[in-house]
Amino acid sequence: MITGRREAWIGRALLIVLMAGTVLPFLSLFVTALHPAGTYPAGLDWPSHPQWGNFVSAFQSARMGKLLQSSALIVLGVVPVSILLATMAGFAIGHLRMAGHRLLLLVFVFGLTLPFEGIVTPLYLQVRDLGLLNTRWAIILPLIGLFMPFSVFWMRAHFVNMPEELSESARVDGAGTWQLFWRIHVPLARPAIASLAILLFLWTWNQFLLAIVLVDDPAKRTMAGALGAFQGQWGTDIPLLCAGSLLILAPTLLVFVIFQRQFVSALLQGSLKG
């Protein structure tokens, strides 16, 4: 198979070019971050004296410790609650299939394509009226609602495939619906829940629009929102801005590298279901 081998080589070459293109922006950030602060370095030139200290000063001036803590708090507020509510709703719509489940699904699916910009203005006013502006709740509560259509859709897709017989035998053994849910179905749904958790973590951590609209203090925002403020503050000091950007995207990168297999499959499935 000579043609096969040639095709394989073309494939490899193309993949390498594509990977290089993907990595190039990160490489450029990294090289630039090593130049002396305040300079305006050119392109991809490796500096004669790499300034590793830039990362330290960016870490301090970005108050990275605070930012990490803030983002972690927001993720902890959003992800477990979203998963619990979505799993319950997905179970009812996909498995119990009580009267009205089709309508309910339709109501949730309706929200799937909704751009956040479409409702951000009333959300701001609503959060203001609740007195939650500039608190982390201003990001947490709306995000739980905004992620709900996808989360319910996702969990429903899992429960729809669970065999009826499973629940029937549990009921014969005298399990109520709540026990059926907790004892039988939640343990079985663990892989679907794990994937959903990964996606929700990522989307919460990277959420920008809600963070800049609803919270003024960068130290109470998500990582992405803080990065926006960081750019305003450091826009003219390119090396420090690059160092700060790398630091701020490092946590997701780290989590991604550790759990890469789960991330890739969650992201692939996530797009397919959404």
């Binding site: 594509l18 394509t113 409702i119 619906t177």
Partner: protein, 319 residues
């Protein structure tokens, strides 16, 4: 489904008529409780969703009919805000820009991703491809804001893009790509294409791995070359994945915000203004809540108009 268990246990049935009457009564009772339980399970999710999505949605529509600065008294203006969205050149321009971005955010990643995926399909099981899967997902994992910052620097006058152009003898066309009226929007488009290309490639690759390889063997026996094979087998088999790629990328284009906020703020002039950013400025800087809401409603309708046919086409195919 509970009825099936009941009828499947004949021990309980004594005398067909009485049993069925009792059954009917029992079924009715059971049905009512199970509907209640089902709705109780959905209720928390539904309440949060209704309060933080459906209510704001209704409010957006309501605000769009008023002239209001968000604090003082509001005045009913009917559809005037909508008229302004379509007649104000700046506002309408933002909508046109969003459609131009579809070319970069959607057409480029989907078409290029299709070609790339088809080319690297043969090595999909190799170690290089495994590494590739990880690397190509990087733009999906980092905040879009970070992508915006990285690319603003790449595209700046002293950035890597110009460095490369100079190196290959194209120094004449170097410029600050994001600051130039004619190149700003395509440059923002390139950033979007970079973000979405890897995702599309991998989605399509995953779809291709599900295609029955005997189809390709049969095509080869019939003397089909790689190109024929691509159009006769690969593309039709990927209908669903292509639909997903289209949906995701079209929404990303129409609702783009993060990248543009960071890289150009809509400028220079209004060259890269998009509805998402315009809504943000109108509502939070210019205090034109009514106008912002009208544009928001238009944006949401545009997304639905663009995405529904894609969904419908792919659904049709899976049945």
């Amino acid at each position: 489904m509970t009825q099936r268990t009941l009828t499947a246990r004949p021990g309980r049935v004594q005398g067909r008529d009485r049993a069925s009457a009792a059954q009917r009564r029992r079924r009715g009772g059971r049905l009512r409780t199970s509907v209640l339980i089902g709705w109780l399970f959905v209720a928390p999710a539904l309440l949060v969703y209704a309060f933080f999505v459906l209510r704001p949605l209704v409010m957006t529509i309501q605000y769009s009919l008023y002239k209001w600065n968000g604090i003082g008294r509001s005045t009913w203006v009917g559809l005037d805000n909508y008229a302004q969205v379509f007649t104000d050149p700046d506002l309408f321009r933002s909508i046109l820009n969003a459609f131009e971005l579809i070319v970069f955010f959607s057409a480029v990643p989907v078409l290029l991703g299709l070609v790339i995926a088809a080319t690297i399909r043969r090595i999909a099981a190799s170690r290089l491809a495994m590494v590739g899967r990880t690397v190509l997902f990087l733009p999906q994992v980092i905040p879009l804001v970070a992508a915006g910052i990285a690319w603003s620097w790449l595209l700046s006058s002293t950035g890597v893009v110009n460095q490369v152009l100079r190196a290959i003898g194209l120094g004449g066309i170097t410029r600050a790509w994001l600051g130039d009226f004619s190149t700003a929007l395509p440059s923002v488009g390139v950033i979007g294409a970079w973000v979405l290309l890897g995702l599309c490639t991998l989605l399509l690759l995953a779809g291709m791995s599900k295609i029955d390889s005997s189809l390709y063997e049969a095509a080869r026996l019939d003397g089909a070359g790689p190109v024929r094979e691509f159009f006769a087998i690969t593309v039709p088999s990927l209908r669903q994945e292509l639909g997903v790629c289209d949906t995701v990328t079209v929404i990303a284009a129409l609702a783009s915000f993060d990248v543009i906020y960071i890289s150009t703020q809509g400028g220079p002039g209004n060259a890269t203004m998009v509805p998402g950013l315009e809504i943000y400025y109108l509502a939070f800087s210019e205090r034109e809540v009514g106008l912002a809401s009208a544009l928001a409603v238009v944006l949401m309708i545009l997304v639905l108009i663009c995405v529904t046919p894609i969904q419908w086409l792919t659904k049709e195919d899976t049945k």
